[in-house]
Symmetry: C2
Subunit: 484 residues, 2 copies
């Protein structure tokens, strides 16, 4: 039996009442995504997919500017291939989908639907790399992946999701480490400047690192409910996969060596992050750089508006479009202006422009900002430049607001009692000294649900400090949070 | 056991010796694609994927210009959902991959990996459409699909392939038919103008139409070995899927009606078509509009070339790039110019530019066309415009050459003996009168391997003609060919 899909919500649950419910209401009502008849799988609707296209374009440009090219590897991975790397298997085997039959025949060897592609890509690299001259390989893939999840949430955790996965191979350990941090930096810059979401970068602990990696780094963002969301990861794979998949090359000194690998990825969950960082009880609020429509023009239908107001609205639309602004006129006569205002607010359009007969007389338009809900008028003369400025202001204002929220929800404590108290409310990030033991990490999680999000780069010295949990000497400070 | 991957070919088999082998040699040696450890699945390597990206961009721009938006639907389809449409099931069930286990658990209901998405998309449309105001829905999806194939060939027929699938829903039968033909027209224009491949458009016979469609239309191209390749299809689905998946709306007259559907798609096999239409014994020949590099500059390494020739080559590279030309300097000092000439010819780069110290003295460059292998010199002054003109010439010349080849391999006959004789050589397209019976169609295929590619639009009248095969009155003329 396929899954029944509940009807779309007509009202949006207030955040204060139930943040998780608010989130799903907004995602479905704004038509970003919907449930599907397949358990745990979502449909990304055109409005949400348009955001994904903007994310893809923004990242792809950055990947290419840093020397990467795209390729495509098979969806299926033979069981024997997945099973080669021990840690990797332990990490992924419990959550893969198994293909056992093709057409009417039972397969000799089962196939997994890729949960990630290190194994299949590593196998190909072993064929392609012979000499140091073949290195580095800097390949990215845009693809769907599948991880069998028991509890799913639209965009944030679904059985199938879309992502990009970079897989690189290098001559030296240093180069691989540089690449790992370079791509983490690309993610941070992208998420902060395009999605207007401030992130903390750092290194994952042993227990949180990618199955099979030497080191994992992440960027972590704070959602509106005070929970953290891992927004991107970059892994230094060392020579682990190279040794298992036999990716060898003849070095400059003629000796046979294993390559040094990295992999890195972000997913459609970034869309969920945008919803949870910027949204409010009115629905979505989209940063202009990621908004499918940056401006929606609503002509006010009075008198012979189709002959007077509409042509002017169209002229302004053309002027904005010529500047590269994504603009849409909502000239449906099946809906009232009030309905349209509400609808586009719910869909988070950064700037609404109203034009009525009176505005026409005054050669002006009315602009309404989604983020502040401020209304103001602006002269039609030079409207393109004016709108561009407003959009830049909104982009910056959303980032500033998110940063302020994060700062207000960031604490530092050495006391476990205080730590526990923080984690009971709307917690945010807490930075605390930690001894480095996985046992303490697990005990803290069991007590409070908080996990170590990362060990910050350039951490303050933990000399003389003791571990939050066990009281033995601390080795580092760590970022803790309850996380999605 | 996963599949062993044979080493890359060092030599390319001549076309005249073995066209099929030539094809695979070129595809692998030019690094468009490679075999993978997964039976029947290919790896699209960066050079081939760059062609796919250009195809995607060219088509996506056209889809959006005709009002379509992109979305993403689940990879998996529950068995019960696939099984609803009887013809569709018969067409696809024998060739789907079955997922039976998720993680460690056996699934209650098996899932198929999508072979195409009418069933899952139809199910969602049924949720989204209520009123005529919700129509039309004009959605496209870029995705991977899986069809279990016994015999596979890189790009042309693989178990997994990449494609786009448009799925639209309309208020009236007329609109759906218009959409079906509009998208066929988009495909024809795209393939002819960007891939430089002339195509025949027409309607498929009952036995060749899409499983579940009312009518299927296709574009058909002729490959270098005289075989036809179906390069794109557009289906008028009538109300078949709407009735099965219950996609109803309240019409303008308040009555409850079923939507009228279309679907249409092209795949990564277009890359195979480019190889087989334009390639020769030297390897690929790429039409400029689809070439990852339109120009490769090879500096001739004499004397202090890194101080003299290279800066000039870089300046020209920048000038070409500023015009939007895709240009690459091959300044590797690990390879000789001769090796580079050969390599870029094999990879089908339309125009090679050589710059040596002597050219520098004369303020000129040497240009070598891949299609004609002609070499000529051109002044550095105004090189950007000159190169642009040459690229346009090459694009047109490739189209003209392919059209001439097709015309030389197109015949018309009423005689079955003559028809059979043609099909024994390098056949091409043959247009012949046909009675419309599936039995004759099947008998002709059994005798000659030739299938009806399509019934041409604006077919000449078949009045007074008799069927090629059975001698009873002909109803139409049909395009026959041996096909991939």
């Amino acid at each position: 039996m396929s899954e029944a899909i509940p009807d779309l919500p007509t009202e949006i649950t207030p955040q204060s009442q139930d943040f998780a419910r608010w989130y799903v209401d907004v995602v479905r009502r704004a038509e970003l995504a919907d449930y599907s008849p397949v358990k745990g799988c979502m449909v990304i609707r055109p409005y949400g997919y348009a955001m994904w296209e903007l994310i893809q374009q923004g990242l792809d440009r950055r990947f290419k500017a840093t020397g990467h090219v795209n390729a495509y590897f098979p969806l299926f991975i033979p069981e024997s291939l997945l099973m080669k790397e021990v840690e990797h298997v332990e990490g992924f085997a419990p959550q893969v989908a198994w293909v056992t039959h093709g057409g009417t025949e039972k397969l000799e060897e089962r196939l997994v639907v890729r949960p990630t592609s290190e194994t299949i890509i590593g196998t190909m690299y072993a064929k392609w790399v012979q000499s140091w001259r073949d290195l580095p390989i800097l390949i990215n893939q845009w693809a769907n992946v599948v991880r069998w999840e028991k509890v799913t949430r639209l965009f944030l955790r679904t059985t199938e999701f879309l992502w990009q996965e970079g897989h690189t191979a290098h001559e030296t350990e240093e180069e691989a480490q540089e690449e790992t941090l370079r791509m983490l930096g690309v993610y941070k810059e992208f998420v902060e400047s395009e999605l207007a979401i401030p992130v903390l970068d750092g290194q994952k602990t042993e227990s949180e690192k990618f199955a099979g990696a030497a080191r994992t780094y992440s960027i972590e963002a704070l959602m509106g409910d005070g929970r953290a969301l891992q927004a991107g990861t970059s892994h230094n794979l060392g020579q682990n996969f190279a040794k298992v998949y036999d990716i060898k090359f003849q070095g400059r000194d003629k000796s046979l060596q294993y390559v040094w690998g990295t992999s890195w990825g972000v997913t459609t969950r970034l869309i969920g992050a945008v919803v949870m960082v910027h949204g409010d009880d009115g629905g979505l609020t989209l940063p202009p750089r990621i908004a499918p429509y940056q401006v929606v023009i609503v002509p006010i239908p009075r008198g012979n508006w189709r002959e007077t107001v509409l042509p002017k609205a169209q002229a302004i639309r053309d002027e904005l479009a010529a500047r590269g602004i994504r603009v849409h006129i909502d000239d449906r006569d099946t809906q009232t202006p009030g309905w349209k205002f509400n609808e586009w607010e719910l869909r988070g359009v950064p700037l609404r422009m109203e034009i009525g007969p009176k505005d026409l007389e005054k050669s002006q338009v009315v602009l309404a900002r989604r983020d502040t809900r401020e209304k103001s008028s602006a002269p039609m003369e030079g409207i393109g430049g004016h709108v561009e400025e407003r959009l830049n202001e909104i982009q910056q204002a959303l980032y500033d607001r998110a940063l302020k929220f994060r700062e207000e929800h960031t604490s530092s404590t050495d006391s476990y009692a205080e730590f526990q108290a923080i984690m009971e409310g709307r917690p945010g990030f807490v930075i605390s000294p930690w001894c480095g033991s996985a046992a303490c990490e697990a005990a803290i999680k069991a007590d409070t649900q908080a996990t170590i999000r990362s060990i910050p780069f350039n951490s303050p010295s933990a000399d003389g400090k003791v571990c939050l949990k066990c009281g033995s000497p601390a080795t580092v400070y760590a970022w803790f949070a309850k996380a999605y």
